[in-house]
């Protein structure tokens, strides 16, 4: 272990010894290479997602090679055990939720319970399992694609048919990641609020404000080059939503009004205002209740051609997660936020400006939520229409809990939810199972993760103390 750390450190030290300009240039070069080859990187990422079992096996192989130099099997066993312990509760929660969801799929089918009611229990249960298999196969393929189809598409591509078949085959993974983008942003928004002791229920409204602002900038400036127009639209959306969110922070700081009340009320205000704006001043064609289409210079670019809809929003979301983590755990502002979140009185005693921290936290939380709307508006719909609200802001509360208010956890939870949502449409179209089943599965996952004792009880896992008492949620009501 120590030898390895020494190696890593000497590598880090060597880079740190470079002059600043050299470090910046090499960083820029790396980013440039990544952007230029992004199309192929993304294609590889999507194929890897679709063929994840192979990737897992490859990873294990690398691990075996690595373990040779540091103690062989015992070291590898410990390493795996540590990882599995971390993943055990979330993974088993998903499994348990899928099992219960599966029971619902089996026994809510009219034909199945009629057959069972007629006394043909075996036949009924058999039909139930057939339904279940069809439903979950469709769910899996909608979310991660069919591995066999991906492999055969790769062979077709090698055979000279171009990448078109591959694009069709990786639509599932691409949809999952696209669907996870608003979840990541909104989940980060709520998680950041939690860390600062604020319960931001207003993400839904902030999403709408950000979406609307980005779209307005998006269609307003013809002739602007993309590298100015796109960032401008993104920043406008984040800023508008941030200011909207900071209203609740200001109210809390100045008057002590509880942010749960004010953010809920601000939600209603933004819903009703956007309805008026969309069917009124900003309506494009009479009777459609939607705005004009944004200009192509404000589009969040897509990596590949249709039907792969993966756009830059996902990269921005991952970057935002990294930035949120850095802000919370590596900066003074973040330290102040976390301190205020743990105990505002102590923070005040320690000389921190609690009021400022509340406003700042709500501003940042609102801006992150706004980016969820921005990515939908600039990346997918290219306008905003009545019925844009999809409940991302409310799901985000669950995601922040699921990810334990930790940016990495939020990203993981969001990709899970995105994958379930992407699979739901396929399940409905192929197997006729309502998308609501997926909502039930999502809710069960949250219940199980919020109450890990259930999962530990079912699977007889040992309690692991390191997990409890880490997370700081919003403090009690009315405090």
């Amino acid at each position: 272990m120590t030898e390895q750390q020494g190696l890593e450190n000497s590598f880090k030290n060597r880079i740190a010894a470079w002059p600043l300009w050299a470090r910046l240039t090499s960083l820029a070069a790396l980013v440039g290479i990544a952007v230029l080859s992004s199309k192929w990187l993304i294609l590889f990422l999507l194929i890897a997602l679709g063929l994840w079992p192979i990737m897992v096996l490859l990873g294990l192989g690398v691990l075996v090679l690595m373990s040779k130099s540091r103690g062989g099997w015992p070291w590898m066993k410990d390493w795996l055990k540590a990882r599995l312990r971390q993943l055990a509760v979330p993974a088993l929660s998903v499994l348990a939720a899928l099992v219960i969801g599966g029971l619902l799929i089996m026994f809510t089918d009219q034909v199945v319970y009629q057959t069972i009611g007629e006394g043909q229990i075996g036949k009924g249960i058999g039909m139930g399992f057939a339904n279940l298999g069809r439903a979950y196969v469709a769910l899996y393929q909608g979310a991660l694609g069919s591995p066999i189809r991906i492999v055969s598409a790769i062979f077709q591509a090698i055979g000279g048919e171009g990448i078109k078949p591959i694009l069709g085959a990786v639509r599932g993974p691409s949809d999952s990641l696209v669907q996870s983008v608003p979840y990541i942003f909104a989940g980060l928004a709520v998680a950041l609020g939690f860390r600062a002791g604020l319960f931001n229920i207003g993400a839904e409204g902030q999403i709408g404000v950000g979406w609307l602002a980005a779209v307005i900038i998006g269609f307003s400036f013809p002739g602007l080059p993309g590298f100015i127009h796109l960032p401008l639209a993104v920043l406008a959306g984040a800023l508008a939503a941030g200011l909207w969110g900071s209203l609740a922070g200001i109210l809390k700081a100045k008057t002590g009004a509880h942010e749960v009340i004010t953010t809920i009320m601000l939600n209603y205000i933004s819903f009703r205002l956007s309805e008026w704006v969309l069917c009124g001043p900003l309506e494009d064609v009479q009777g459609t209740c939607r705005t004009k289409e944004i200009l192509s210079s404000a589009y969040l670019p897509k990596f590949l051609e249709h039907p792969v809809t993966m756009h830059w929003g996902f990269m921005v979301a991952v970057a935002a997660a990294a930035a949120t983590g850095w802000l919370l755990f590596k900066t003074t502002w973040g330290y102040e936020m976390r301190t205020v979140g743990t105990n505002p009185d102590a923070a005040r005693y320690g000389g921190m400006n609690v009021a400022k921290t509340y406003v700042l936290a709500m501003l940042l939380s609102g801006a992150l939520a706004g980016l969820a709307g921005v990515s939908q508006g600039l990346g997918i719909t290219h306008n905003i229409a009545l019925g844009f609200s999809a409940g991302y802001g409310f799901d985000a509360i669950a995601l922040a809990l699921l990810g334990k208010s930790n940016p990495v956890g939020v990203v993981g939870a969001s990709i899970l939810f995105g994958a379930l949502r992407a699979g739901a449409a396929r399940m409905q179209s192929l197997a006729g199972i309502p998308t609501e089943i997926v909502q039930i599965v999502q809710s069960l996952v949250i219940v199980f993760i919020a109450a890990p004792a259930i999962i530990r009880g079912i699977y007889r896992l040992k309690d692991d103390d390191s997990e409890s008492g880490q997370t700081v949620f919003s403090r009690g009501w009315g405090s």
Binding site: L92, R134, A138, V178, V285, Q376, H382, S389, L430, Y459
Partner: protein, 339 residues
Amino acid sequence: MRKYALISILLIALVLLTGCGPALPEGCEKGDFKVGMVSDVGGLDDASFNENTWEGLQRADDELAVCAKFIESQAQADYEKNITEFAEQDYDLIITVGFLLGDATAKMAEQYPDVKFGIIDVGYLESPNLAGITFNVDEASFPIGYLAAGMAVEQDPDDPQVSYVGGMQIPPVEQFIVAYEAGVAYYNAQKGTDVKFTGVYVGDFEAPDQGKIQGNSLIDEGADVILGCGGKTGNGGLAAAKERGKLGIGVDVDQYYTLPNEKDILITSTMKRLDNAVFTVVESLVNDEFPGGGVYVGSLANGGVGLAPYHDIDVPAELAAEVEAILIAVEAGELDTGW
């Protein structure tokens, strides 16, 4: 450790299984025309246009060599994705329900020139593989306005009044209201009466409570017949009429069957037969006569709009005969419906 190994084996088995997934959707046979429906965010159980459209597709599924499936959209951002889902599965026809899907449908129709598209309530899009499906609901609401005025006079000869409880003020709703008003005015002109026409747009399709409050205040102002016109909000207006012993008129489908509580006060319903319309479009596809680039217009003549039969409320024979005559005149284009 053994437990984890077991779980991972199970997971890998699951993944291997998914390789041999179903090529055809559940319940479809080879050679069937595959028809997919993408709903708007109202969902399939809205007791209104999504549900009615799906009924038409189910009939097509039963009676024609057609296999119909649907996807319910949960958000605006889902529209294109859900249409893509069907298009990538090589569906022959994709029906998108409502003007909210206009943009997504236009884009996807361009993306998939070999797939046929039909869109409800949108007549402004033009594409060789796209058929708009719209309705001349005014042709049915004009005679019903006349009928409502006649019934109001029956109920309250001294101060007859017809009132509507509307959803959002958007063209598909206004089309009903404007023609109702013209029908009432026509009655006044014919009979020399002074039947008043009032009403409210609540601004929401899903607010039965608001609809009921507005219905009650319209009744306080003397309304004798309530025209429900706007999803669940309109149904709230009909609930007020039931409670206060007034008459009502339903909308979109024969609401005698969808509103069991208010059915005995319903004179009739103004029917917008989405089911007939989509059935006709599907049938045209099967017969290779798809009206691509054109618009299917539901009218009195083709049964796309119409009056529901009279049920529990007795309509005087004379009035019923007059309404019949007006229906014929409207169908022949001899009367202006005001729309």
